[in-house]
Each structure stands twice: as C-alpha cells, then as structure tokens.
Amino acid sequence: MLTLTTLVASITVFVLAIFLGFELISKVPPTLHTPLMSGANAISGITIVGALILSNAEFNNGDPGTASWLAFIALVMATINVVGGFMVTNKMLEMIAGKKRRGGN
C-alpha cells in the first residue's frame, strides 16, 4: 500500500541518487566515454525486475492475457539490454585495457 510517507521516501531516494550520479562521473577520460555510456545503459536494464514480477502469470486455456504478454515482451527486451549491454561493454574494455597492459604501461 502506497502512502504519502512512502512516496516522499521514494522521492527522497530519487533526488539523492540523481545528485550521486552527477558526482560519480564528473571526470572521465574520452577513451571511456563509450564504454561508460554502454555500461550505464546496461544498468538501466534494471527494469528487468519489474518485468519479472509482472511476467508471473497463469495460462488460462493457453492465454495469459494481454497484460502478461506485454510483460513478457518487456522481459525479453530488458534481458537483451542487460546481457548484451554488459557483454558489449566488456568487449570494448578488453580492447582498451587489454592492449594497454600488453603495451607495457
């Protein structure tokens, strides 16, 4: 049950996390801009949690209903975002960091 108290608590978390985000990445070398964007993008796939909860549905005569099908599509999209996002970021970072290490720096 959502009350005014819990709503204000959530808004507090929301605002503080925004400030935290600004402070976290104020200085980034250009090499890392693309990996950072890609990694942050993978983290925004956290909406997968919501998709999981709503995908919990019963099949009545083979049809779980429109709402659950939509949740299923959301789950597929969020999972692609998460799995693909972290893998692509890793691939880019291996290229940057891996080569640098072998370069003897």
């Binding site: 959502l2 709503l7 959530s10 929301f14 605002v15 996390a17 925004i18 400030f19 935290l20 600004f22 976290l24 104020s26 980034v28 070398p29 250009p30 090499t31 693309t34 990996p35 950072l36 964007m37 990694g39 942050a40 993008n41 983290i43 925004s44 956290i46 909406t47 997968i48 949690v49 919501g50 998709a51 999981l52 909860i53 709503l54 995908s55 919990n56 019963e58 099949f59 209903g65 709402a67 939509l70 599509i73 789950l75 597929v76 999972t79 975002n81 799995v83 996002g85 972290f86 970021t89 890793n90 691939k91 880019m92 290229m95 940057i96 960091a97 080569k99 072998r102 370069g103 720096n105």
Partner: protein, 481 residues
C-alpha cells in the same frame, strides 16, 4: 514466509554494486572491474526477485523462464557478432530496448489492474501510481522510437530488401531522412503538452482505455519527431541523451512497482547520461538546445563546384620521406573502412625511420565519444600517442605532415570564421601543418553540409578512395621507396 526486510537488503546490496560499478567505470585501470560489479549487481537483483517470487507464490513459470532464455540468447548473439564499427548502433538499439521495456512494464501494470478491477480509490496511491506509469510511459516510448531512429541515422540509411542487386551484390540503398521545418518544434511541444494532459485525464478516469492507447501512440510519435530533424553528426549527443532518458524511465518504473533499486539505478544512469551529453555539447561548442531544436547537417547538401586533382600514394610516400613529425587525424571514414590496422602499420613504418608519430583525436570524431580511441586501441596503438584536440593544436605548426583519414568537419577551417552550421566549433588545426594529406572518397561535403576549403589549398594532397585501400597502397609505396 521470509520477512520482506531480507529482500530489501538484497536490493540494497545490488544498488551499492551499481554505484561502485559506475564509479570504477570512469577510470581506465578499474573500468573492467566496474563493469563486472555492475553485472553482479544485476544478477543479484534478478536472483533476489526470483527467490522472492518463489517464496511468495509463482502462478506460472512459462513467461518468466521463456523471457529470460529468449532475451539472453538474443543479447548474447548480438553482442558476440558485433564489429567495432557497428558498436554505436548496437548501444543505441540496446538503449531503446531498455526504454521500451520500462514503458511496457508500466502499460502491463495498468492493463493488469484494469483486468482485475484493482484501481485504487482517489488518493495518494492512485495519483502517484498513475502519474509514475504515465511518465515512465512517455519517457520510455520516446526512448524506444528515438533510439531506433538514432540507430538508423548512425547507419546512414538501409538496403531495401528484395530489390535488384547491383554488380557488387548490394541492394538498393536509401539514406535515412533528415527533415525538420521550424514549425515542427511547436508540433513537438503541443504533443508533449497533450501527453501530460492525457496523464491528468487517466487519473480522473482510470477506466478509459482510449486515453492510455492515445498516450502510447503520441509518445511513440514524439520520439520519432524528436530525432528526425537532427543530423547524423549530432547522433552521439542524441544517443547519450536517450541513454539518460532510459535511466529516468527505469526510475519512474521503480515508483510504479515500489522498488528502490530501480529508483536508485535509474536516476543514477539518468544523471550520468546527462553529464556525458553536456561534455559532448561542450566539445562541439554548442548548447544542448541548439543541437535538439535547430536542424543541423544532413539536409541541404551543397554541390561541389570546385575541383582538385587527386594525388597518388607514390607522391605521398615521397613527401613522407625524411620528415621528423607526423600527426594522424582520424574520423568516421577510418571506422567505416576498418582502416585502423593499416593506419598503425603506416605509423610503424614512419617510426622505424625515426619519425615522431602522434594521433590527434577530436572529441566528436566518429559517431560516439571515444570512438576513435577504441578503434585505435584495437589496432594496438599506444595510449600515450592519442593526443586530445587542445594539446595537438599546439604541436601542429611544427608538424611536417598531417594525415587526415576519413575526417572532414573536424578539420574544416571555416569553423574559425564563426559563421554557418560549423561556426564556432573547435577544430583540429590540420591546415597549420606543412603538408596536409587527406584520404577521402570524394570532395563532397561532410555531415554538416559545408564545403571544406582545406581540400582546395595548395599544400593539400588528396588521396581519393576507400580509407583502408588507400592506406594499404600508401604502405606499399613507402616500403618500395
């Protein structure tokens, strides 16, 4: 029945992992570890959710398992098959999926509540939930359609399937449209206002499906109209902004399902994306509003009336003999032709002759921030040789040869005049070098649609052709010389 505190602590740990992950992603040494921490945080959040659902009550596994398996498989294949050049497009696509998922979760929640007549009475719960669903919907749908448009623009166009193949086995190519008369901004504003009013209407009459579907359609349209007028050169800024928006959409979804980890992770990504967006705008010396609301580049291409005789690789090899300093300035053309390894070979050959070789990296070269750095790193170019714009500009007056490969707008001297679409954009002063060698397919204009005087200067040598092919011929010519 396990107390709900356990789940909250699990989510808290996961949120902490995200914070550490983003923090470490912003430093080269710790970045791979940061990405892993982010991935662990995500795994933990998914596991906590699954266990929580299991202990409470699972009424159907089919969609849950099916969704995870299908999504992981597609994501895995997309990530493993991708080449370095298509990376920006893939990031745009993943970003769109993230936003679309948030919007769909909101829509599913609404339909679910309508189906089981679970609409709260007017009060805080109704207002907060409905406004959150509405906002996650607007931001999410705009992110989805906007990202798909951005992906198309990054690609430049697409092949029409089932058309006749030409002699090189390719189908008919269509350029992605860029279109935006000044009145379009008012249309976009009106649509956005309508969307907000629709949220107000759904709060007053939650049972009306028409309002919900109108909101979905208008938001999708808004995303398309948002990106259509923006030229391909500005796509990095747009993708970065959309990345920020997909985070905000996830945060609003957190309000909908009452979960703090979504709110924390989403708003953090929102802030991170916005910072990156401003960094990129600053590099182009433009404001975000100018990028988003003034049509720029892509349209109105000027026809080239002047001509310039092309040089051949042997001539360039002769010029490169006995020099002491060479600066290589790469652009998107190097990425498209995959010329980075040939460029590295060229640099190796010169270094073997005792030439100092540096790379001048413009902040917006390529189609994403750091695009050139990633490509050159792939070709094993040492990190210290990649010099940022401000530092390389002080070196260029003492440079013997500036080799521009696949770049145009970022070395266009017209930017210094402060007029036209490029006016005021900081550039790499390639024209200050003694000799400028430009590898480019033609004399045509770049993304900004502006003629480049540098091409026609006497000290400029043009090598017309595909970047990789020309570099290979140049390497061969130097070997023979």
């Amino acid at each position: 029945m396990v107390d709900s505190v356990v789940w909250d602590i699990g989510y808290l740990v996961s949120a902490a992992l995200f914070i550490l992950g983003i923090k470490r992603l912003s430093s080269p040494r710790t970045a791979p570890q940061g990405n892993m921490l982010g991935a662990y945080g995500m795994l933990l959040a998914v596991l906590v959710t699954l266990v929580k659902m299991y202990t409470e009550e699972v009424i159907g596994y089919e969609l849950i398992i099916g969704g995870l398996v299908v999504g992981s498989t597609i994501g895995y294949f997309m990530a493993t098959r991708v080449g370095m050049t298509e990376m920006p497009e893939l990031v745009a696509l993943f970003n769109g999926f993230g936003g679309g998922a948030s919007a769909l979760v909101g829509l599913s929640e609404v339909l679910n509540r309508l189906q089981y007549s679970n609409i709260p009475d007017p009060g805080v719960e109704l207002y907060a939930t409905w406004v959150a669903i509405g906002l996650s919907g607007i931001v999410g749908w705009v992110t989805l359609t906007g990202s798909l448009m951005a992906m198309g623009k990054l690609r430049g166009g697409f092949y029409i399937p089932f058309t006749k193949k030409d002699e090189r086995g390719r189908r008919k190519w269509v350029n992605f449209p860029t279109w935006g008369p000044p009145w379009l901004n008012y249309v976009k504003g009106a649509i956005l206002l309508t969307c907000f009013s629709l949220i107000g209407l759904t709060v007053q009459d939650p049972h009306n499906y028409d309002y919900i579907y109108s909101l979905v359609l208008l938001s999708c349209l808004l995303g398309i109209l948002f990106v259509v007028p923006i030229g391909g050169a500005d796509m990095p800024v747009v993708v970065s902004l959309l990345n920020s928006m997909s985070g905000i959409a996830a945060a609003f979804t957190g309000f909908v399902i009452g979960n703090n980890v979504l709110i924390i992770a989403g708003s953090m990504v929102g802030a991170a994306g916005l910072i990156l967006t401003f960094i990129m705008c600053k590099a182009m010396n433009r404001t975000l509003t100018a990028v988003l609301f003034k049509s720029f580049g892509g349209g109105g291409r000027e026809s080239v009336t002047r001509t310039k005789v092309g040089s051949d690789p042997e001539e360039v090899a002769m010029v490169c003999d006995g020099i002491s300093k060479c600066v290589i300035i790469p652009g998107y053309g190097m990425a498209v032709s995959q010329a980075q390894h040939a460029v590295k070979e060229f640099a190796d050959q010169l270094e073997a002759q005792g030439v100092e070789v540096l790379y001048g990296i413009h902040p917006v070269a390529g189609r994403m921030p750091g695009h050139m750095n990633v490509l050159l790193a792939e070709a094993s170019v040492p990190y210290e040789q990649l010099i940022e714009m401000d530092e390389i500009n002080s070196e260029l007056p003492e440079t013997d040869v500036a080799l521009v490969i696949g770049a145009n707008d970022t070395v266009n001297p017209v930017a210094r005049t402060g007029e036209g679409p490029l006016g005021g954009m900081p550039i790499i002063d390639a024209d200050k070098a003694r000799v400028v060698v430009i590898i480019k397919r033609s004399l045509s204009v770049g993304y900004a649609g502006v003629d480049n005087d540098l091409f026609f200067e006497d000290k400029t040598m043009m090598l017309f052709g595909d970047g990789k092919k020309m570099m290979n011929e140049l390497n061969a010519a130097i070997k023979e010389f």
